[in-house]
């Protein structure tokens, strides 16, 4: 018999196995849906894992209120098309205090509107397991994290004291109030993600494709002026440039790249010649050394 699985088939099987393990072992799982390409792949895998049933858990979007408008439109469209149960959580305290990336900086904004918001949502619904789309190739503290990553009742990650994780035998036991963050895409690389999107024809937010868009050059990044909340600083101008996004987050914190890649094939082609990492376009990783680990310890995904 000559039936070697392809690389993507192996990755897919591993992820599906992880999804099913959580559905079988936890009382109240949830999938964090961030609308980006990794989330799109994650959602696709979740649909596969439980076919012909729907995934036996809801999808949660933590909305910072600063996401690209196209992301929100895409999110609602997918929820309707696939018929999953979509929960949207906004940190209302942050909205009341008008926390925003322009006045408060990326650190405070991300902490209040994302990390704290996420903790609020997990506590509100009492989720005991939460899927996230993080990959180990993204960043060096993520390269250290288990697939089943334990969080205490305060949602804190203790990177120096992780549970051993042997084979595919996952320790799913937790005490009341504790939870597990689960990363089915741990062993995928950015290139794997794009190749899989291409192979499976997975819908993604149009912002990933090159198009003429109104951008402002600021702090060495090309920021899309997505709405009127973005005020121009002296000397800044809005230009229409042919750009796309390699990664998506809050629009004021996410840099576009100049590109003419307007098909999936062209994106994969561009990936193969990329000279910078995808997280370079994310302002939040650069705030300080070890900033991702610090955010993760506080409960960020």
């Amino acid at each position: 018999m000559n039936i070697a699985l392809t690389h993507l088939q192996r990755l897919e099987a591993e992820s599906i196995h992880i999804f099913r393990e959580v559905a079988a072992a936890f009382a109240k799982p949830v999938m964090l849906y961030s609308v980006g390409k990794d989330s799109s792949v994650l959602m696709h895998l979740a649909m596969k894992a439980f076919y012909p049933a729907k995934p036996p858990f809801p999808f949660l979007h933590v909305d910072t209120t600063w996401k690209f408008r196209e992301m929100i439109a895409f999110r609602d469209q997918m929820a309707q098309k696939l018929g999953f149960d979509l929960l949207v959580h906004v940190n209302e305290d942050g909205v009341r205090d008008n926390i925003n990336p322009f006045d408060h900086g990326s650190n405070t904004h991300t902490h209040v509107m994302k990390t704290v918001a996420l903790r609020q949502a997990l506590d509100k619904y009492g989720f005991d397991a939460a899927f996230g789309g993080a990959r180990r190739d993204e960043e060096k503290s993520r390269a250290k994290e288990r697939i089943f990553s334990f969080r205490n009742a305060q949602h804190v990650w203790d990177p120096k004291n992780q549970r051993p994780e042997m084979w595919k035998i996952f320790n799913t036991r937790i005490a009341s109030g504790e939870s597990i963050r689960v990363f089915p895409l741990s062993n995928w690389t950015e290139l794997d993600i794009w190749q899989y999107i291409l192979q499976e024809d997975i819908p993604i937010v149009p912002l990933y494709f090159a198009k003429e868009r109104p951008v402002v050059e600021r702090d060495g990044m090309l920021i899309l002026k997505d709405d009127e909340r973005m005020q121009l600083r002296p000397g800044e101008t809005v230009e229409n440039r042919l750009v796309r996004f390699r990664t998506l987050g809050c629009y004021p914190l996410t840099g576009a790249i100049e590109s003419d890649a307007d098909t999936l094939e062209a994106i994969v082609g561009e990936m193969l010649t990329a000279r910078t990492s995808e997280r370079q376009g994310r302002l939040i990783d650069r705030d300080e050394a070890g900033s991702m680990e610090k955010k993760k310890r506080e409960g960020y995904f």
Partner: protein, 645 residues
């Protein structure tokens, strides 16, 4: 020879061709291990750098970090690429395993960079459990060290069959051939018992890149492959697809009454539509009606695929069971022998109850016999009463319910398990099954005609086990005595199991080490269970200092039958009373392992009855016990009456 990932411009219309070519590449998972400072992280940094896997922004960050935390002067410190935790960078050590990804035109790689420090051995084991090859690094100046041996033994136990012996820092011994050969000889001497299929020694300098991706001119005496050449070509195929069919059922998918699918990942072998399969634990057979996958049913599926099976008949199968080939079935047993690697700072104690978890099954298990511990230096089998953190031993285990398994040598997926602490939920050990124990196959439960209920009804009472726990001198025996007298006077059938008395007979062979204390409690709990089964009200009066054993005792009894009574008297008061003069001697150092003095007492968190004895009489305590018992009996009578039997 340069190894450059396909970073050169691929024309867009050729992308699908490129992807097809990528898909055919095989994947090699390997780890780097060895002692501290042998250069594991540096080697991975070198591999990533030489295969062009480091992006410009990452390189810039690395240069910044090297100036701040680096240990290589003005050069880039590649270790900082993988030591991703703040604590690691500050201390310059690797604490936990990091996974890194790279590819060459020939193969894809996932590498686990594992820590060398002995205290983080569990993280090395984590990295090794999913690897097919181990790069064992050795500092050419140091030679084979204790951690080299420990890591090699663990890699071997976890089923790794291919080793690269990377004799690193060869530049620091002047690229000396004799040093290299001596180390290789030492390693071969030591490792010939470990069952490695290949051991490929390579002299290298991870820091300067000699023999990593390009051949070094300074080791002209070496004619073997460079590291990357070897990694690209070594064959590690386990061919799980050739083994008998094993399908551990992970999840029963039942969206509606018309569909009942068994979801899981094929551990080994293959399955086709129409195949006969057998339910491992019941022996019932059925046929595969459909192999369901998103996008259309499959005719056939093989090891590694995550699928959903629909069977012809409504056979009983749930998570934890296995669908298997009828011709070659796994073993189903509740007693077996296994290699165990221990991870936890609290030692493995025979007799203590742990949670045993296979890929999809879970039950409780105790080590009935620690046969021996393996000395990592010379493989000597040493007698041991417990297994400390990072130690390896061979044990007999007994599980509460039978599990389906193969030996680990036959099947790495169905022959492995982990052990979990019942209280902290920590993963405390990993096990590789050696063989089932024959006695499990031959001793079957005898079904008896007269039942527990009948025996208790004849005595006109409900059985119960009152488990008194508390420090020596807390008043357990006094209260227990009085309690039994009162029960006896009201016509109840009772028995007291007293710690001191039992140690004169049944448990006279046990001492006071942690391991013996656990066994002491296990025996008494079993005796109490038999007595409850006979319909008695049992009063156990034992210090029973560990919550794990009290929980084990609780789980042995029927629901509601175990009544934990915490006789709560402060240490100072017990030591003041000191009825047997033991505290004075223990505090003097004359008695070792004395609870409360140099051996811990873990107070119950949620006892059914909490007796605070200070300032109270034994009569008052017993009144509280009687009240509790009467209330329970009334509640159960009402439940029975309402239950409409």
């Amino acid at each position: 020879m340069r190894h450059i990932m396909a970073k050169s411009l691929a024309p867009t219309d050729g992308i699908r061709d490129y992807m097809t070519a990528q898909e055919k590449k095989s994947l090699l998972r390997f780890l780097t291990c060895g002692s501290v400072d042998d250069g594991k992280s540096t080697l991975i940094g070198r591999l990533l750098s030489d295969t062009k896997q480091i992006f410009e922004d990452q390189l810039a960050a690395l240069e910044r970090d090297s100036r701040k935390h680096g240990t290589t002067g003005d050069d880039i410190d590649f270790a900082l690429l993988v030591d991703g935790l703040e604590a690691e960078r500050e201390q310059g050590i690797t604490i936990d395993v990091a996974y890194r990804f790279f590819a060459t035109p020939k193969r894809k790689f996932i590498v686990a960079d594992t820590p060398g420090h002995e205290q983080y051995t569990r993280n090395m084991a984590t990295g090794a459990s999913t690897a097919d090859l181990a790069i064992v690094l050795i500092d050419a100046r140091q030679g084979v060290l204790r951690q080299t041996r420990r890591h090699s033994i663990i890699a071997s136990l976890l089923g790794i069959r291919h080793v690269v012996l990377a004799v690193n820092k060869i530049d620091l011994v002047g690229f000396d051939k004799t040093v290299f050969e001596r180390i290789v000889e030492d390693y071969r001497q030591f490792s010939h018992k470990l069952g490695f299929e290949t051991i490929v020694p390579i002299p290298m300098s991870a820091r300067y890149g000699d023999n990593v991706t390009s051949r070094s001119v300074k080791t002209d005496w070496y004619s073997g492959p460079t590291l990357i050449e070897h990694l690209e070509t070594v064959s590690v195929d386990e061919a799980a697809v050739e083994l008998p069919f094993r399908f551990p059922v992970q999840y029963v998918n039942r969206p509606n009454l018309d569909f009942r699918g068994f979801a899981g990942t094929i551990a080994s072998g293959s399955v086709s539509q129409g195949d006969e399969v057998v339910v491992a634990k019941s022996g019932k057979s059925s046929r595969v009606k459909r192999i369901v996958a998103h996008g259309g049913d499959l005719n056939q599926a093989v090891a590694g695929q995550a699928i959903t099976l629909v069977l012809d008949d409504e056979v009983e199968v749930s998570r934890g069971n296995m669908l298997v080939s009828p011709a070659a079935r796994p073993q189903v047993a509740d007693q077996f022998a296994a290699n165990i690697v221990w991870f936890d700072e609290h030692a493995l104690l025979p007799g203590r109850s742990y949670i045993l978890r296979t890929e999809t099954d879970q039950t409780s298990a105790t080590v009935t016999d620690l046969k021996y511990r393996v000395n990592v230096n010379d493989f000597a089998h040493e007698a041991a009463k417990s297994l400390e953190m990072n130690e390896v031993g061979i044990c007999n285990l007994s599980t509460r319910a039978p599990i389906a398994f193969d030996t680990f040598a036959e099947n790495r997926t169905t022959g492995a398990f982990i052990l979990i602490d019942r209280i902290t939920n920590a993963t405390v050990g990993a096990g590789m099954i050696l063989h089932s124990l024959r006695r499990a196959e031959n001793i079957h439960w005898q079904s008896l005609d007269v039942g527990k209920r009948g025996r208790a009804d004849m005595k006109n009472q409900r059985p119960a086990v009152f488990w008194f726990t508390g420090l020596s001198g807390s008043g357990k025996s006094t209260i227990a005595n009085l309690f039994e007298k009162k029960l006896f006077a009201t016509g109840r059938h009772t028995y007291i199991l007293d710690g001191d008395n039992v140690r004169h007979g049944l448990n006279r062979d046990l001492g006071f080490t942690d391991a013996d204390r656990v066994e002491n409690i296990r025996r008494v709990a079993e005796v109490a269970r038999l007595m409850a089964d006979a319909g008695l009200i049992v009063i156990v009066s034992f210090i029973s200092p560990f919550s794990a054993e009290r929980r084990m005792a609780r789980e042995l009894m029927a629901d509601g039958e175990f009544v934990e009574v915490f006789v709560d008297t402060p240490f100072e008061e017990c030591a003041r009373r000191d009825p047997k003069g033991l505290y004075a001697r223990a505090l003097n150092g004359e008695i070792k392992n004395f609870t409360g003095v140099d051996s811990p007492y873990e107070a119950p968190e949620n006892p059914e009855i909490h007796l605070k004895t200070l300032g109270k009489s034994a009569e008052e305590m017993v009144e509280a016990l009687e009240l509790w018992l009467n209330e329970r009996d009334i509640a159960e009578d009402q439940y029975d009456a309402g239950g409409g039997i």
